[in-house]
Assembly symmetry: C2
């Protein structure tokens, strides 16, 4: 079944191809938040934008860029999938506060403050300890608010996440992670974080990455729906969406780049281990973008109304982005520095 | 008076000129540790090396590069001042563990893990909280040990400093700071840090930057000598040296670059304040490099023996660098990665 309204997936990083974009169409997607950077610095991020321009030129029938939330409506009208640009790390701004606005102008709509490790802004979820937002981090949070860039704390540690939510004057998201209540992965989020996102009117996108799910690749669609129901009750039906973390057709080398970037001389296995170092097997019921209707159907069978389903499948994402990342919400972009 | 042995100043960042290099000669200096980078990234640090090559070409009668500690002996024999390269931040290696060795090969002999703020490696002394060495930081400490790059914790916060000393397999230095016992600046070091440096057989270089001294620019030479005597007793006569932090002929813009780099939209005043935002006035008894003999004379009058004085004025620096940064101490440089 197709959900009414727009369908948005809140996180993907695949080896992009015509096949994958066609699967997005089969799956009824109107927009996908794609990752430009894990460890890429400023210069390298510009190349990632260039690579997307290559794809927009190669597949004009299938995809279009999303520079502002209203472009998602245009994508739907045009029958194309809107590509929302995001970074999973603050590496694109390096050590420069002014690059937040520059990156936003280029189209970067969403940025994580950390990716697993300590960053210049805050602490990641794999460090032993977390001292919260740094001096630079506090400035970046407010600058992201100012220019309409969405703060994403998916890979951040708990204290940093709570401090970012507290310090931000805009809603904050967890684009792709699940409640620890459901599965206690380091990457998943405690009830405390879930409740803070609720109070902040943010959003949590459910991850379909097997390491974030109960029983890993054996997680059933029923289990997944249990999680959606529980989280919808705790967080509110307006605060949940999808963030599949789909990494289709990527080689092992990409997984290693995500995990260790340039910072380590030894492999770091993330939520995996040396005996389980590769990509996890895919879920039987979610293998690619054409499987989104399966999820919508299962949720409908759980009793979500058409209106609720529309929110979960993309309406909440569109609302969040419209509130936080629209030119009007970031009216101060062109104003002088306070 | 001139001290016997070598005379080494453990930190300077001046607007380099023939006048300043001539003053080094007047002051009897054989080597000076100069700062290449405060916030400079990898690419920018290469330009700083290039700028020094300009100076070596322009003033071959006065200065020479120090790529290995033995070059300090050569400098003395040649009657030139050896320039020891250091970074006050880890920005030259960006996020890349392999750049430690690359920077050492270029000549970077000393590197601070942080400069005031949280870095990717550890925490700086101006952050509210300090969670110690990061995952990347631990790898960098051991890599610096391996390639013979000296770990400097002058601008780091206390916990990070103690953890670096604990984790390092080589002696660690505080190139330029004073005991908090003498003056409680955020940049100065507690008895706990002093004692850890003693146990680690490291080195503390006394700073002559007025913000680090009792009574600021009014600090007397007598007060300074009191501090040297106290610290020598606590830390050991083999563990103290000079790290003047002399920043001669630098404009206000350079002070602002040091303090806020690119990370802040508002001025950060460091140990100064908005009502005291500029460079501090110079000490009456230490205005430039020609004043080092004044210090040596005053210390001799305090009863330090000729041998002790030689250690304080440069012998301890030479010993430390020889132990930590010589090719033989970093014999593993050309060995395969463990």
């Amino acid at each position: 079944m197709k959900a009414s309204g727009v369908v948005i997936d809140g996180l993907q990083y695949s080896a992009w191809s015509r096949t994958i974009f066609e699967q997005m169409h089969e799956g009824g997607l109107n927009a996908v938040h794609v990752t430009l950077a894990y460890h890429e610095n400023t210069r390298e991020t510009l190349t990632r934008f260039g690579e997307w321009n290559n794809r927009f030129e190669a597949y004009p029938d299938l995809i279009r860029p999303v520079y502002a939330p209203e472009d998602i409506h245009k994508a739907k009208e045009e029958g194309r999938v809107g590509i929302i640009f995001g970074a999973q790390n603050c590496s694109p701004i390096e050590d420069e506060i002014r690059l937040v606005e520059v990156m936003r102008r280029l189209g970067l709509m969403i940025m994580q403050l950390t990716y697993n490790n300590q960053s210049l802004l805050a602490c990641g979820c794999y460090e032993d300890e977390d001292s919260g937002l740094t001096r630079f981090g506090k400035q970046v949070v407010r600058e992201m608010n100012r220019v309409g860039m969405v703060i994403d704390m998916s890979h951040s540690a708990e204290r940093s996440t709570l401090e970012a939510i507290d310090y931000s004057q805009q809603s904050v998201i967890i684009s792709h992670a699940n409640p620890s209540h459901f599965h206690p992965a380091l990457r998943n989020k405690s009830d405390k974080v879930i409740d803070a996102i609720a109070a902040n009117e943010g959003l949590v996108g459910f991850s379909l990455y097997p390491f974030h799910l109960k029983n890993g690749p054996q997680c059933t669609l029923d289990d997944f729906c249990d999680m959606v129901v529980w989280t919808g009750e705790r967080l509110g039906i307006d605060r949940i969406g999808l963030g599949s973390d789909l990494c289709q057709a990527q080689p092992q080398s990409v997984l290693e780049w995500m995990r260790t970037g340039r910072w380590s001389k030894v492999m770091d296995y993330g939520e995996g281990s040396s005996s389980n170092a590769g990509w996890p097997d895919a879920l039987s019921w979610f293998q690619d973008n054409s499987d989104f209707p399966t999820i919508a159907r299962a949720l409908a069978q759980r009793g979500f109304s058409t209106e609720e389903l529309a929110k979960i499948m993309g309406g909440n994402w569109l609302d969040l982005l419209t509130r936080v990342a629209s030119p009007q919400s970031a009216a101060a972009v062109d104003e002088p520095v306070p």
